[in-house]
Each structure stands twice: as C-alpha cells, then as structure tokens.
C-alpha cells in the first residue's frame, strides 16, 4: 500500500531524514518509534506530501506522492496529530464533515457517516455540536479520528495521537482505537515514543534514530536480535511493563 524509497530530507543543511526505505502492506499497522528528533514525524509528513523529500519517492497504492497528486492522495489518507488539530471555529460535527461538505457530498450521506463514526470512536452524541474548546482532550482526539476517517481512507497516519492525554483516558482511547482499527482493517502508520503503545497498535515496530531506520520487526525480534546496541538501550530505557 505504501512504499518509501530512498527518501532523504534536510532542513537548513541538517540531514533530518534518510535515506529511508520502508514498505507498509495493505491492512498492516506499522509503529514508528525512536527518540525525539529521530525523524519519525518528518517521515509521516513526507508520506502524505506535507513535506517534499529532497531525494527518493513515496508510492501510495502505486501513485507517486507529489505536488500534483498530493491533494488527491491526502483525501485517501487520514491524518491525526497530537493535540487533534481540530479547527476551533467549527463544532465537532463541522470538523468531521468539513472535507465531505467541501466535496459536495449529499447532506444525508454526510449525516449518516457521522452517525456511524460517532459510534465507532465511542463519542457521546451530545459532544457532536460542541466546539473543540468545550470538549475534553480525549473527546477531541476521538473527533479528530472521525475527521480522519470521514472519507473512508485506505491509510491512517497518526502522529502521537495520545501524547497529550493523561494515563487513564489514554488507556481507554487506546482500547477503543485498536478495536476500531481491527474492525476496519485499515492500513495504519502510527508515530509513538512509547514502546507499549507502539507494540499495542503495531504489527511491526520500526525503530528510527538520526533519520534512519535502525531495525524493524516485532518487539520479540527487536529484543532477541537487536541490530544495534542502541535498540537494546532504547527498549530498556522505556521500562515498559510489557518488556
């Protein structure tokens, strides 16, 4: 579904990414992990065309992501950022429906889709007509996910979607999201700095450092056959209950 081929990106002479190669098969969930500044968020933005790579290319379902194809590609990729990125001037419903309305989808269809998604992300129905400022952090993330899923995209890109939530809400949301992903069978790329969360969501973990992929595989692969001493150090440093 997604193919990252030899992507490189520098900002002001500093190499932020690459070269990176990565393949995400349809229906698989991949978690990008690594220390801050390792390039995992940059990679996510290259995938949906928010950042143009200096070298290399991203293929989405066989199409190269470029300035020309970006708008069409993005409509087939949901994107959720850490604090939700909800537009404060629109209600939860307005946020979720924005793109579908802009595309001129019939109001009935949009309303039905919102109903469906409200159940899927387990958002209280009363929250639909509230503005982001009136929602809790967890509710905002649920709405952001609704917005990302609105056009039924093939791929979901999540950039630390639970990074700003407190542990209890985070746990509930993790459970709900996983259930939603399982039922939808979407291809997911999630960025996390938390091994437990990454392992929870991802079929495959991709550990990055200094803009490159150090190792990818299951948590077992990473623990039993570390490709680099840093892999072990990173895993140990987390002291997550699963390790």
């Amino acid at each position: 579904m997604l193919e990252v081929r030899g992507v490189e990106k520098s900002f002001a002479g500093h190499r932020a990414l690459g070269p990176v190669d990565l393949t995400v098969p349809a229906g698989k969930r991949v978690a990008l992990i690594g220390p801050s500044g390792c390039g995992k968020s940059t990679l996510l933005r290259v995938i949906n065309g928010l950042i143009a790579p200096d070298r290399g290319a991203v293929l989405f379902d066989g199409t190269e992501v470029s300035a020309e194809t970006a708008l069409a590609v993005r409509r087939r990729m949901g994107y959720v950022i850490q604090d939700g990125g909800l537009f404060p001037h629109l209600t939860a419903r307005g946020n979720a429906a924005l793109m579908a309305r802009w595309l001129g989808r019939p109001a009935k269809e949009v309303a039905a889709r919102i109903d469906e998604l409200t159940d899927l992300v387990r958002l209280p129905r009363a929250a639909l007509d509230r503005y982001p400022a009136q929602l809790s952090g967890g509710q905002r993330q649920r709405v952001s996910l609704m917005r990302a899923l609105m056009l039924d995209p093939q791929v979901l890109l999540l950039d630390e979607p639970m990074g700003a939530l407190d542990p209890v809400i985070r746990f509930e949301l993790q459970e709900d999201l996983l259930a939603a992903f399982e039922s939808l069978g979407k291809t997911v790329v999630i960025v996390s700095h938390d091994i437990a969360e990454a392992w929870h969501f991802g079929h495959v973990l991709v550990l990055m450092r200094d803009g490159r992929v150090l190792q990818q595989g299951t948590l077992d692969d990473l623990m039993s056959a570390p490709a680099d001493p840093f892999v072990t150090r990173f895993l140990n440093a987390q002291r997550s209950p699963v390790a």
Binding site: R45, N48, L50, A70, L71, A72, V73, R74, R75, M77, Y79, I81, Q82, D83, G85, L86, F87, P88, H89, L90, T91, L98, M99, W102, Y131, P132, A133, Q134, L135, S136, G137, R147, L157
Partner: protein, 503 residues
C-alpha cells in the same frame, strides 16, 4: 461565517451606494469658492447670493484649506469664482512674474482663462494699530509719526515679525528705532493693548477688533505694505455655462468700503450672525437685492453633517477593506512581498493628512473625492497588518491539518484560516473605522463637508459651541461604530473562537 460575511458586505455596499447617491449630485451652474477665514467666506456668500439673484443655480464651496488649494480648484474648473487679494496674487500665486501694475496682473490672469474684477472697494492689508487715545495723546497718525516715538512698546504676532513683507519691510522703509519688539499671539495682542502692556500691534485693515478695541490704524504713508485690494477671480468660460453671471458678480465692484467690510466681519465674528445672513443684509441695503437665506436649525445642520460624514467614513472604509484584506493575505503568504507592502502602507501613514489632501486636489479636484482617497490610504495599515498577523497566528498544526485533509489552498484560506483570523481582521477594521471618523473631519478643508465643517467654522469664529457641534457628534459616531462592530463581531466571528477552553 459563510452566511454572515456576504450579509455584512451587502449591508455596507448598500449603505455606501445610498450615501453616494445622496452625496454626489450634479455640479451647480455657478460654483463659488472661499478660503477658511471669515472675510473670504462673507465675500463668497455675497458672490453666491448675487449670482443666485440672477436666477443661476449656485453652490458655495465654503472654507477651503488655503490659497494654493482654491487657486488650483479655480484653474481646474472645480469652482468658477472666488475672492482674492491683489497682494496675494503678486506675492504668492504669480510670484516671480512681472505683474506690478493692475493691467499686467489682469493680463497674466487672462492668459490663464481667469477674469479679474475691478477692486471691490476695500483693501485688507497689514497695518499697525494703536489705541485711539494713546495715538491721539502722542500725535501719531502715520507710520512716519510712529518712527519718531521710540518709547512706544510694540508687540507683534510671530508671523508678522518674521515675514519679509511684515515688520522687516516697515523697519527698512521707515527706519523704525524701536528696540525690544516682542512677538506674541495675535489674539493676546488686543488684550495686551487694552491693558497697556504694549501700545502698538499689527492687524489687518478690516479687522473687526479695530472697532471693538477703538484702535487707530496708522497710515502707511510711504507705501511699505503692498496693496491687498479685494477682487473676484472668475473663470472666463463661466459666461458659456451661466450667461450673465460674470456681469452679476461684477456688480460688487467698488461697492464694499473698508468700513462696511469691518462692519460685516464684526457682525459675523463678534455678534455671531451667520455669514449668509450678513451678506444678504448687505446686498439688500447696498444693491437692493433680496436674497433668500436658508436658515437651517442646529438639528438640521447636525443631521446633514452626519449624513455627509457617514458617507465619507463608509465609502472609504469599504474600499479599504476590499483592498487591505487581500493585501494582508498576500503579506501572510509571501512574507518578502509583504515587507514591501507593509513598508508602503506605513509610509503613507507618515504623510500628514493635510499634505495628503493637498496632494490629491490637483488629481481629484475638491469635494469628497480627495478626502475619500486620503481616508482610504490611511485605513489600509491597520487592516493589512491585522489580516497578516491574524493569518500568521493560525497555529501551524491547524494549517497542517487543513492541508492534510486535502483542501486546496484557496479553500483552506476561506474555510479555516480567514475564519480563524476573523477576530483580528475585524479589530483592524474597527481601528480604521474609528480613525476614519477622525480623519474625515479634516476633509472639510477640501470641501468634503461632514463634521469638519462646523469645527472649521468654530475655529475660525472662535466659537466653542460650533466646534462642539462637530466634535461631539464625531465622538458619538466613533462610539456608535465601536458598538456596531461589537455586533458585527458576534455575527462574523465564529462562536467557537469566543469560547474559553474547558480543558
């Protein structure tokens, strides 16, 4: 937002169009101009009434900003006639040309398509005056007499003291021996004369204060001051538009004596009789002409000024909004170009409003247009800056989220960025609106009318009541606009932006 914005825009446009219809009529057959001092306004009213008595449709553009402005308005055909002084023509308007004799002056004007009337009868030149009894006691009748009394304490207005055709001229001509000549404010000079702290001061020969303070005007026996004979300057082509009008205006030639002018100035400035009334009384007595004087009550005046002022503010603001918001978007999108745009609109802001108005008069004539142009330029900066800031302040995460949805740039601007910046943009428009109410008051200097008119008259006549008649409604209008914008803010700024976050 999507529903409210066109609504508000439509309301503005309607208001502006209605005001435009109300504000801009056809030009009258005969347009008389006058400068912003009482004598000029009175002469303008005399000319206007005498032309009207011949059945012409006449308009009087009162109290225009200054000599240059009225002169260029005459040449441009914005006005057909205005009162001027031969001295001003020689010293200022045609300075450097050989126009020493009246014939040469008339010929130089004629070459410009302007007819100069014969002198109206009085001369309004600089003079030195003393209290009658002091002058009598010292035996001073002429400036030559004054030169023989070095003990007389002289206090002069600052301008007269400095002007080459003022004190330096008479000191040269008469060899005045006086030392320690003091500079002081012209209005204080009369009080100083009365209290005896000075014994002679400069004045104009038609100054009504001459009577009030019982002053003797010393004769300029050696001709130190150039003559300032009052004349009417008339466009030669007026005859084509209004046959007989030039002849009618020329009926004023030789009819106004110095005493009569002092009398009229006094009635207007000291007794506070309206200038049209003073002019009508003179015409009735001197020429047997009955002129209709339309006396408008205070409420009617304020209402008319309010409509004129609203027109100026609404039209200039609307134009500024239509131009500045796109400019603000440009500044936010292309920061380098934006720097240039901002520098340009900031530069405009540094030009004094009077200078800007005068610059526009040759291009746009007199009336509402130059005022609108100046107000438009002054309104740009707050709106451009607030639009640019409002857009730049949209958090990067939100801009990215909008892009990541697959919205094209135009839709992102319209659906996300502009609504989020709406409060800032509106604040900029509000600032411009309030500024415009203030700037519009100086529009009266170029004939744009509005609240500036009574303020200008009030300053000229030293009439606080008249000043307040313009200043108070202007302040109320500024407050009302603030209130209006609070309402507009409720309509336009999305509710979600006015909420405080709960978590």
């Amino acid at each position: 937002m999507r529903r409210a914005l066109p609504l508000v825009a439509a309301a503005w446009a309607t208001a502006a169009a209605a005001a435009a219809l109300a504000g801009c009529g056809d030009r009258a057959d005969v347009v008389i101009g006058s400068k912003k001092f009482t004598e000029s306004v009175l002469l303008g009213d005399l000319a206007a009434q005498i032309a009207a008595s011949e059945g012409h449709e006449v308009e009087h553009q009162r109290e225009l900003g200054g000599t240059r402005l009225v002169w260029s308005a005459l040449l441009a055909g914005e006005i057909d006639a205005y009162p001027e002084y031969t001295g001003t023509l020689r010293q200022e308007i045609l300075a450097g040309e050989d126009v020493a004799t009246d014939d040469a002056l008339a010929a130089a004007l004629s070459a410009r398509g302007v007819v100069m009337s014969a002198p109206l009868g009085f001369s309004d030149s600089y003079a030195i005056g003393m209290r009658e009894e002091v002058a009598e006691r010292l035996g001073v009748r002429t400036l030559s007499d004054l030169a023989r009394h070095p003990e007389v304490v002289i206090g002069l207005s600052h301008e007269f003291l400095d002007r080459d055709d003022g004190w330096p001229a008479i000191r040269r001509t008469y060899g005045m021996p006086h030392t320690g000549v003091r500079g002081l404010d012209h209005d204080l000079a009369y009080r100083a004369l009365e209290s005896g702290s000075i014994q002679a001061t400069d004045l104009y020969t038609t100054d009504p204060q001459i009577r009030r303070y019982r002053l003797r005007v010393l004769e300029d026996d050696r001709g130190a001051f150039p003559p300032y004979d009052a004349v009417l300057l008339i466009r030669a082509d007026l005859e084509e538009r209004a046959p007989g009008a030039i002849a009618a205006l020329r009926r004023l030639e030789g009819r106004i004596s110095t005493d009569e002018m002092i009398e009229m100035n006094g009635r207007a400035m000291i007794d506070r009789v309206s200038e049209p009334r003073v002019a009508a009384d003179f015409l009735a007595g001197e020429l047997g002409i009955t002129a209709e004087v339309e006396e408008v009550g205070r409420a009617g005046r304020i209402w008319a000024r309010t409509l004129e002022h609203l027109f100026l503010v609404a039209v200039s603001l609307l134009a500024a909004v239509l131009i500045s918001v796109p400019l603000g978007v440009l500044c936010a999108r292309r920061p380098r170009t934006g720097q240039v745009v901002l520098a340009a609109v900031e530069a405009v802001q540094t030009i004094p409003s009077m200078a800007l108005l005068v610059l526009f008069v040759p291009l746009l004539g007199i009336g509402a247009l130059p005022a609108l142009a100046a107000m438009f330029l002054y309104s740009l900066l707050p709106i451009v800056r607030s639009t640019a800031t409002g857009l730049t302040d949209v958090p990067p995460g939100l801009r990215e989220s909008a892009a990541a949805l697959g919205l094209p740039p135009g839709a992102r601007l319209r659906l996300v960025e502009l609504p989020m910046a709406s409060r800032a943009i509106l604040a900029g428009i509000k600032t411009s609106a309030v500024w415009n109410v203030a700037t519009a008051t100086i529009g009266a200097l170029v004939g744009a009318r509005g609240y500036g008119q009574p303020i200008l008259s009030g300053i000229r006549l030293d009439d606080t009541g008249l000043i307040l008649e313009g200043a108070i409604p202007a302040a109320l209008m500024a407050l009302a606009l603030r209130g209006l914008f609070e309402i507009v803010e409720r309509l336009v700024v999305p509710r979600g932006l006015r909420l405080r976050p709960v978590a």
